[in-house]
Amino acid sequence: MAALTVVGSVILLQFDWFGDAASEEASPIDTLFDVMIVLSTFVFAIVMVMFGYAIWKFRAKPGDESDGEPIHGNTKLEIAWTVIPTIIVLFGAGYSWIVLDDIEAKADEQMPLKITAQQFKWTFEYPDADGLRTNVLHVPVDRQLEVKLEALDVLHSFWVPEWRIKRDLVPAGAGGDEIDDEFVVTPNQEGTFSLVCTELCGLGHTTMRATVVVESQDEFDRWIADQSQAQAAPSGSSAAGGT
């Protein structure tokens, strides 16, 4: 059983289950998942070994009409399989709580970012750049983003798989003040990613995506300057531009 757990865990840990990781928050989440893989393999191995052994050993021979041994229970065993799983899941809960605090911890310095979703379009606003608005998200690498969310019509959901972070955008109504519409994320890999809407929002839900570019601070500053200039030009009065 132990051998099976070790072999199973080693094999399963070879896979890159969640795909590429590209944010500070990804690594503790991925580690938590790896720990869960090991624990799950252990539990699954126990069940399967017991199961396989029982099926192999106790299968009825043709024509055998006898009964099994009348075992009604075993208090010690029953206490064991109540208490041990309780300890395991409470460990899991404690560990998850620590990871949760970790990935939601705020850094000293953050870049504010406002994201607005509507059917079926994403808009990104940069408060530090005089409220510049674009349809492509550019962010600097290794800087924590303090994201504020807003939905204009129905529910949408922000997800960049490589960042591991997801949050619904809720149209503010009576409960508007109570809605938790902020999160932090720290991209740490340069590259181009996809922002995927993950809350069913109507006909265009499937294609409601946006491009996310993570780049160095210098490139980002240059891009902001370009965008600001383009939008300040007389012809560029439309709020949404960008490449």
Binding site: V89, A93, V170
Partner: protein
């Protein structure tokens, strides 16, 4: 014809439907004309001239069918039709198509009706998989696709899994506790007849302007409050399915509490009875929440109330809280009766008492209590009050403990057993243990907030719920159908075809739902008609497997239909089981028992020399000798020792 219109029955039901619909339609037209409103209001969320008839038509049908005849006469002070039991039992196939108060007839009505919707829901799923076999849009456009997955889920949940369990229990449970029928036979019949109405309302939404409801089975506001007309049909269908569910649950509770045969203490009830009692406790308290919340959405849509419409100050997240306050317990409503079935099947086909019977029963009650405290784990990324996440995570993970107890107890039951692996019911039970453990493990992962943040609303969720609802619930349903098929029909089914069905289903199930975990974790969201090309290969595998899964069900249908008609005759107790339903003929006599049996011991006393569960009427004299005490039987401990000790 005129005579048929006077007698309660389907003909008068059809007339009732027409009259009811016409009344509703006329009422709307008249009221709007009097108020000076535009008579046919055809905004997407409007159509009162279709919505009101969709309520009054079905009610008219129920009246015409005869569902209220007895109560109307009683209420009007007229002489009620004497209880000649003409509404009881089935002598020909026609008796299944009328308002019948026999729990055995109702059980079969439930099972056949729900399997019809299972097939329709399955075909819809295969249509979706055909679309998803390749990236891009080939067969249906995204709008239709949204309608397909919404109706697929609504049919499977509200008119297949939940009611099929009610059907199986309807047939088996009164027999099991030694009762002649359910406590309220007329209410029981009414509960059944509301069910096809619910299913047909869901399906009718395909025909109305704007197409089928397409906001998912979850119907999150405010997408649902502004969706086209089909959404209103979903709101109404849930009312009929919900009312059916609640009435049945009350019926089960009263039946179980008041109608057990003498000697059947709580600790001598078969675990299927425990399971249905637990389920009913959930249904009675939780189902009114979904009924309420769907009414609120309907009112938002057609009466311009303002519960959830954000644009007018409604509270969007409230919808999710109320919805999940029902819909999380609903997961257990769809699983606990299956747990009961598995306990019956495993003990019988492994020839062993259930290991740790009392803890098994207590685990059910533990799940009932805990399942009311976990709903917000569906909302970890919803933007709800952030503090709520950690306590809900802890309760969610804790619910794995009673579930684990059940798995371990079933496994322990297999030890030192005589395992009949050729029995299809047993194969589905064993298959259930494997697939349900996988579903349970992915459930624990989903319960952890940081992991959930990543995989929420992805194919990982789709994989998890299908492992739990298909590998879990549906496998237990098949186990139950095969196990009690001889009892219900008086015929044996073909075990060889049964095994073919099992292995094909298992293979198709694994091929369909295992890869969904992987594409989900790597970034494929759920509820999309198209996806990034990188997921193409696995989606093709999933689609092919899902077709295998669909074809496997043809084997099942063939086996059931042919065996029902031409199968070899079944004896009263082909599995040599101990519980009471097997001690009567197959199918049982019209009132179940000539004389109510007397329960003298636990339900699973396999291998205990001389132990009995029940003494049937007529054999009283034969078994007057004292019961052998089995207290402290081998390995004795927390189990159901004490068989016979209380007689």
């Amino acid at each position: 014809m005129a005579a048929a219109l006077k007698q309660p029955g389907l003909t008068r039901g059809a007339l009732g439907f027409i009259v009811g619909s016409a009344f509703g339609f006329g009422l709307v037209v008249a009221l709007r004309a009097i108020s000076g409103l535009e008579i046919f209001q055809t905004e997407p969320t409007g159509y009162p001239h279709l919505i009101v008839p969709a309520i009054t038509g079905p009610l008219g049908f129920l009246v015409g069918l005869g569902a209220f005849d007895y109560w109307f006469r009683w209420a009007a002070g007229k002489p009620t039709i004497p209880e000649d039991h003409s509404q009881h039992g089935a002598r020909s196939w026609r008796d299944y198509f009328r308002f019948n108060t026999d729990h055995k007839v109702i059980g079969i009505q439930y099972i056949v009706t729900t399997f019809f919707f299972f097939l329709v829901g399955g075909l819809i799923a295969m249509l979706m998989r055909a679309e998803l076999a390749q990236p891009g849009t080939q067969i249906v456009d995204p709008g239709v696709f949204n309608g397909l997955f919404s109706t697929h889920a609504a049919l499977m949940i509200f008119v297949f899994v939940i009611p099929v369990f009610a059907g199986i229990a309807n047939y088996v449970l009164p027999l099991m506790i030694g009762a002649p029928d359910m406590a309220f036979p007329r209410l029981n019949a009414l509960s059944f007849w509301m069910l096809p109405i619910a299913g047909l309302l869901f399906l009718a939404s395909f025909l109305v302007p704007g197409g089928a409801f397409d906001a998912g089975w979850t119907g999150y506001a405010p997408l649902s409050t502004g969706a086209p007309l089909g959404q209103s049909f979903f709101n109404l269908g849930v009312q009929f399915a919900g009312a059916s569910s609640v009435a049945t649950a009350l019926n089960f509770l009263v039946t179980i509490i008041t109608m057990r045969a003498p000697g059947m203490t709580f600790w001598r009830m078969p675990l299927l009875v425990w399971a249905n009692m637990s389920t009913s406790l959930l249904v009675v308290a939780a189902t009114p929440f979904i009924a309420g919340v769907q009414f609120m959405v309907l009112f938002d849509r057609v009466l311009n109330t303002n519960f959830f419409q954000a644009a007018f100050g409604g509270d969007v997240l409230s919808y999710q809280h109320i919805f999940w306050f029902y819909s999380h317990p609903a997961v257990y409503i769809m699983m606990l009766p299956g747990f009961g079935i598995i306990s019956e099947v495993i003990s019988t086909h492994a020839r062993k008492p259930i290991f740790g019977y009392r803890l098994m029963a207590l685990a059910l009650i533990g799940i009932v209590v805990l399942s009311y405290t976990v709903w917000a784990h569906h909302m970890f990324v919803s933007g709800m009050f952030a503090w709520l996440r950690v306590p809900m995570m802890i309760t969610t993970l804790l619910i794995a403990v009673p579930t684990g107890i059940k798995i371990f107890s079933w496994l322990a039951t297999l030890f030192n057993s005589v395992l009949h692996l050729k029995s299809t019911a047993m194969l589905f039970s064993l298959g259930f243990i494997v697939t349900f453990v996988v579903g349970g493990i992915s459930g624990v992962m989903l319960g952890m907030v940081p992991i959930d943040i990543h995989v929420s609303d992805t194919y990982f969720i789709v994989a998890h719920i299908h492992f739990v609802l298909f590998g879990g619930s549906v496998f237990t349903i098949f186990a139950g159908i095969y196990h009690w098929f001889p009892k219900m029909t008086g015929r044996m089914y073909d075990e060889k075809l049964g095994r073919v069905h099992f292995y094909l289903t298992l293979l198709g199930m694994l091929g369909t739902f295992v890869p969904m975990h992987w594409v989900g974790m790597e970034g494929m969201p759920r509820r999309v008609a198209d996806y990034a090309a990188q997921f193409g290969d696995w989606n093709l595998v999933i689609s092919i497997s899902s077709f295998l899964l669909g074809i496997a069900q043809l084997v099942f249908m063939y086996n059931m239909i042919v065996s029902w008609k031409w199968g070899p005759r079944a004896t009263g107790n082909p599995w040599r089981a101990k519980t009471i339903e097997w001690q009567v003929s197959s199918p049982p006599p019209i009132f179940n028992f000539d004389e109510i049996p007397r329960v003298v011991g636990g339900p699973y006393e396999f291998g205990v020399p001389g132990a009995r569960h029940a003494i049937m009427g007529g054999e009283e004299a034969e078994v007057r000798k004292p019961e052998p005490a089995v207290v402290g039987a081998a390995g004795g401990g927390g189990g159901s020792s004490g068989a016979g000790a209380r007689t």
